[in-house]
């Protein structure tokens, strides 16, 4: 078993994936930043050209404007205590999740030689079609179960946030969706890379069918984000908010990918072209986050708070349940889409005709 494991591939890919994790780490945290739970004690400091101006520890109750005097300069800062922050518990599960995800990919790349001839040997499309056929019902039931638990828990049992009252409950849809559209993009990039390098048909189909699904999930993230913003910030679209704008750009990239995919008739060339574009955009996404964050710090004069407080455990529990629910939903919807594409791709083969006759 270990003889066919290629350590060189494994170490190189682990190194590359670690580098990617570093680059992508910041926005794999929840996309809505680290606001402050009311009543916590903290310090607020602002870095200006004339050095660090800050307050010492004090307790924050409501959004307020702080005044700092420095030489003859007066710098005013607005602090908002918006949605509850997510605590270390959540960050820990997130880091474990990301690490687990990258480790599996590195091991898979280590086994790439046996995996690729396994895929080629087993007449991959038919095998995947039948295999996924068996898994889909289970994934669907599990996803539905977890989703209902998460939502009911989130809506009914989670304590209402002091400041935002109940509108914060949108977090249980918004945050998982926002994270899922990043993960969907990463999975699509990996699938496109495999499709480009080893020209494996199933990888092409996976990459092509993620695009519309990713666009749908990004749409959910955008809509729930703006609805939530409508209640807490007053305007349902806020150009200054870096999270909203970067998710919007990601949405445009998804639409671009879908557009390119449908513009080319021949399926195989379409998949390769889309793969190239996905990987080029994959490289540029960190820069989108950097530039939008800088744009935000220019106009809003961001108020960075020293120290962030934990999320109330009752609030965090449904969120974690919802994470696994959304991940399962993603696999479920993806597998359905893949099975459809497989039938279209192999419509001339005999096994598809048998299925058609049987259906």
């Amino acid at each position: 078993m270990f003889s066919s494991f290629n350590f060189k591939y494994f170490i190189i890919s682990a190194a590359i994936l670690l580098l990617l994790a570093l680059v992508y780490a910041p926005h794999s945290q929840p996309l809505y930043g680290d606001p402050l739970k009311t009543g916590t004690q903290t310090k607020v400091g602002v870095q200006t050209e004339y050095g660090l101006i800050g307050t010492d520890k004090f307790r924050i109750y409501k959004s307020q404007k702080l005044e700092f005097k420095y030489k003859n300069m007066v710098v005013t800062e607005k602090i908002n205590t918006t949605a509850p922050t997510t605590g270390s518990l959540f960050l820990l599960t997130n880091w474990l999740y990301q690490l687990f995800f990258f480790l599996i990919t590195a091991i898979a790349i280590g086994y790439s030689k046996p995996i690729s001839n396994f895929i080629k040997k087993t007449g991959s499309l038919k095998y995947t079609y039948n295999l996924s056929g068996k898994f889909i019902p289970w994934i669907a039931i599990l996803a539905l179960l977890l989703a209902t638990i998460g939502i009911v828990d989130g809506l009914a049992f989670a304590p209402t946030d002091a400041k935002q009252k109940d509108s914060f409950r949108i977090i249980y849809i918004h945050v998982p969706a926002a994270m899922l559209c990043i993960q969907a993009y990463i999975v699509m990039s990996i699938a496109s890379a495999i499709a480009l390098i080893w020209r494996i048909k199933i990888a092409e189909i996976v990459a092509m069918s993620i695009a519309p699904l990713g666009a749908a999930i990004t749409a959910i993230a955008l809509i729930t984000g703006s609805l939530w913003g409508a209640r807490t910030w007053g305007t349902w679209w806020e150009w200054k908010d870096p999270r909203m704008v970067s998710v919007l750009i990601l949405f445009f990239i998804y639409l671009g990918i879908m557009g390119l995919n449908s513009a080319i008739e021949d399926k195989r060339t379409a998949a390769s072209a889309t793969g190239i574009f996905t990987l080029s955009a994959f490289v540029i996404i960190p820069f989108i986050y950097v530039s939008v964050k800088m744009f935000n710090s220019l106009h809003q004069g961001s108020t960075q708070v020293i120290g962030s407080s934990d999320m109330h455990p009752d609030m965090a529990r449904p969120l974690i349940v919802m994470f696994f629910a959304t991940m399962l939903y993603f696999t479920f919807a993806l597998l359905i889409r893949i099975r459809g594409e497989i039938l279209i791709r192999d419509r001339k083969t005999q096994w598809v005709k048998d299925i058609a006759l049987r259906s």
Partner: protein, 252 residues
Amino acid sequence: MTPKTNKNGLTAFLAIIRRDLLLAYRYRAEVINPILYFIIIVSLYPLAISPDPKVLTKIAPGIIWVAALLASLLSLDNLFRSDYEDGTLEQMLMSPHPTGILVLAKIVAHWITTGLPLLLVAPVLAYTLHLDPKAYSVLMITLIIGTPILSFVGAIGIALTVGLRRGGMLLSILVLPLFLPILVLSSVAIQLAASPRPAIAPIIPGAWFDSVVYLTTQAPYSAAIYTLSALLILAITLAPLATAAALRISLR
């Protein structure tokens, strides 16, 4: 044993640059189009928004950069289109030299004929838009660093859509989201240089790029320029490879 080759990648690289510059020189009228387009777009804003200098100074960096972006987007089309139609692109793909070098040559030649002229016209237009005198130097820096990135990243987009009949609209949908970081970084840099207010930045570098933003404390716009040049280096190294692969695919 193959005879000593007296022609390595460099000669092909220079030959293609010379050829494209010769073509551009022979059809000088076409070189002026991006510049005219640039001027017209810039002159739209004062008429559309307001001629009042106070308003214009505030939005001048954005106007110039949006116009530069649209001008280079428009001029991307003649990067591979003519070669695709008369078969020279096929010959380039079939040449033993690595396609990346040949594509690099074409992109550099394209930037010289379209990106560079924008640089000459930009300060004059910035003056008409009452741009803050302190910001001219940063405007030129961002244009010098930014416009090549537009050509490199745009080359990937046009290489993907060159084979399609109605690829024009798809090209802008594909490429504009990728142009956004360049647009935002440059206009942020210019506005930071122009505006007297000290740049306020997060003080806890949570991730590597927070520390990049943190750098704004040295000179207000340096973080944006650093990120822009990082993007340029990335574009120069990776874009030719992606464009070569994209050309191979769209010529399949």
